[in-house]
């Protein structure tokens, strides 16, 4: 499996949390410009595996790693390996968007500046490049100095991806990066992932979405209960007929996919609603399922918060357009 151009190779990597072995010996190889998807049901050790690659597991007390992880041929756990340099070149995007409590620009330039980039023009170019690469530049280019927390969840996640790309990493580890994104931004991110791969970045992405794995990845590794049970080129893995040998594998995989992305689940009745909020309030009736859809940042969560009055808790947010209904308690009847 291991080839000469493999950037990152793991040999029999095991992980224990205390006395609980969360990952059994796993050997995988990741090459430059390749996208590898890690799939499998919840709790099977995908994030655990991902975290050992850039040594984020060191932040978890009681976590022990066995085996070898070779990056450019050097063991990442050896003494001579510079932890900070390693994390700089092996970036990570988390499941929950976690921008810093800083402005959008600061979110991008903060780490490069700490790593010694000080030229203002260079930093400005970096901001623009990384935001463009993460498909969010057009949305935020006029508000670079505003807080990143004023962005929607999906926008925050793309900002986090941009922040990682600003470090010019070799490898990017993504732990379910799209679980907070709408289909359009998910598509944009998938495009970004392909672009990254084209530029020679090695991407490892954990996903619960089988279709996404099929779309973006070159190789797929399937995890089950702490074991890496199957790996291979994505096309082969997904198109293989269910032979007796791989029944568990594929069934487990598709179950998982169905649960998570709703791809094959019965679709809820989807109604596109006109946007004026007064009409929206009237359009919803009991026993009907209404889906709110729209691109990231278009106000779905905001509207939802208005309806059950969670917006009362958000500082400086008036109950737009729902004022009278709210007071008469009509919105509660939904």
């Amino acid at each position: 499996m291991t080839q000469a151009d493999d950037l990152l190779v793991t040999h029999d990597v095991t992980v224990c949390y205390g006395s609980h072995q969360a990952l059994n010996p796993t050997s995988l190889a990741f090459s430059e410009g390749g996208v590898t998807a890690l799939i499998g049901p919840s709790g099977c050790g995908k994030s655990t595996f991902l975290r050992c690659i850039n040594l984020m597991n060191r932040e978890i007390p009681g976590c022990r790693v066995g085996g070898e992880i070779l990056y450019h041929g050097n063991d990442v756990n050896s003494r001579s390996q510079d932890l900070f340099q390693l994390r700089k070149s092996i970036g990570m995007v988390f499941q929950q968007p976690n921008p810093f409590h800083k402005s959008i620009r600061e979110n991008i330039v903060f780490a490069p500046r700490r790593h010694g980039v000080s030229d203002k023009d260079e930093l400005d170019a970096l901001v623009e490049d990384s935001l463009k690469a993460a498909a969010i530049w057009d949305e935020v280019k006029d508000q670079l100095d505003q807080s990143a927390f004023a962005l929607s969840g999906g926008q925050q996640q793309r900002l986090c991806i941009a922040r990682t790309l600003a470090m010019r990493p070799d490898v990017v580890l993504m732990d379910e990066p799209c679980s907070a994104l709408d289909p359009i931004s998910t598509f944009a991110i998938e495009q970004t992932i392909r672009d990254m791969a084209e530029r020679g970045i090695c991407v490892v992405i954990v996903t619960h979405n089988m279709e996404q794995a099929a779309r973006v990845s070159d190789r797929t590794a399937y995890f089950l209960l702490g074991d890496m049970v199957e790996t291979g080129p994505t096309k082969e893995l997904f198109s293989r007929p269910r032979t007796s040998g791989s029944t568990t594998t594929s069934r487990g995989g598709s179950d998982d996919g169905r649960e998570q992305d709703g791809g094959r689940a019965p679709r809820p009745v989807l109604r596109r609603l006109p946007c004026p909020e007064g009409r929206l309030a009237r359009a919803w009736r009991r026993t009907r399922v209404t889906a709110l859809i729209g691109p990231s940042g278009c106000g779905k969560s905001t509207l939802l918060r208005c309806l059950n009055r969670m917006n009362d808790r958000v500082e400086g947010m008036p109950p737009h357009g729902l004022g009278p209904a709210r007071r008469r308690g009509r919105a509660r009847g939904l």
């Binding site: 984020m56 932040e59 409590h101 004023a150 990682t164």
Partner: protein, 304 residues
């Protein structure tokens, strides 16, 4: 809405209303008590509060008409020195405990000790300061002895507050910093501390209020005499130089205690009421200003 569900909701709603009323009553009572105390103090001291002479003149030993000028200055100077020493030390200790100290028996013991120290009676701190700083080290009754005693009294509280503020910052902020190849120190200093800043500032303000009004810890350390101050005197070794840290320095709170226990001036009630009002106003002003500054600082640091 179905009726069974409706009644459950109704009772829950009633409980919610009742809880709201009860809580509002409690808060109301507390507010009334506090406002009564504050207004009482301010009204009884109102005559002196705006009397420039009272605020600037030095106290009299036997005649009436003495002021509290040196005490006012001493209070602020001691507070400033105390904060200058205790905030950096506490910040360091709290960062260590929250971010660096490995989980284990030693850390647990240290945390428990700090919690115990934060409820140490201030008179005990004062007497310790008297024995150690004043006698053993031979510093005498001095601002330095007082500031260090106050620091000892202040540090455990500040450490706890700052540590809790740091631990309340979500884990993922820390992970985000570390995953970008930043050191733990950079992550702490540039990401965690700014995020925790509002809580830290609130803690510092609350502890500063306590320090400003503290008497027991100072009676035997900073002393009970206030030498007249000459602001033109820059000789740091002279007793009348305001900045000299080796001179005795009575503060407002100690002054109140002293004139009430052994004062012989005829207008001691008026002076004590006036001093209490000044103390009160200082603490209120200080709170408002510090909160304002804290919010400005937090906004600068977080761009919110």
């Amino acid at each position: 809405m179905p009726s069974a569900k409706g009644s459950a909701t109704a009772s829950a709603r009633r409980a919610d209303k009742a809880a709201t009323v009860v809580l509002a009553c409690i808060v109301g009572l507390i507010c009334v008590a506090l406002v009564a105390i504050i207004v009482g103090i301010l009204v009884s001291g109102a005559g002196k509060l705006f009397d420039i002479n009272f605020l600037t003149a030095k106290p009299e030993q036997f005649k009436e008409g003495g002021g509290i000028g040196p005490e006012l200055f001493n209070s602020f100077y001691l507070l400033l020195l105390t904060l200058l020493i205790s905030v950096p030390v506490s910040l360091g200790a709290a960062v260590f405990l929250a971010e660096y100290a490995p989980e284990g028996p030693v850390t647990t013991v240290v945390k428990t000790v700090i919690e115990a120290l934060s409820s140490l009676p201030s008179i005990v701190v004062g007497l310790f300061g008297f024995l150690f700083f004043v006698l053993t080290l031979g510093w005498g009754f001095s601002i330095m002895s007082g500031a260090l005693a106050l620091t000892m009294f202040n540090i455990p509280i500040l450490v706890r507050v700052i540590q809790q503020a740091l631990e309340a910052v979500p884990r993922d902020q820390r992970d985000a910093g570390l995953a970008l190849g930043l050191t733990r120190w950079e992550t702490t200093l540039h990401i965690l501390v700014p995020s925790a800043m509002p809580a830290i500032i609130t803690g510092v303000i609350l502890s500063a209020g306590r320090v400003f009004g503290e008497a027991a810890a100072l009676i035997y350390t900073a002393g009970q005499s206030a030498p007249a101050l000459d602001f033109l005197n820059l000789n740091l070794l002279s007793t009348s130089c305001p900045w000299n840290v080796w001179r005795p320095a009575e503060t407002l709170a100690v002054h109140i205690w002293k004139i009430n226990s052994e004062g012989v001036v005829p207008d001691l009630t008026a002076i004590s009421n006036g001093t209490a009002a000044v103390l009160m106003v200082c603490i209120l002003l200080f709170n408002v200003l510090a909160r304002f500054a804290g919010r400005r600082l937090a906004r600068r640091l977080t761009a919110e």
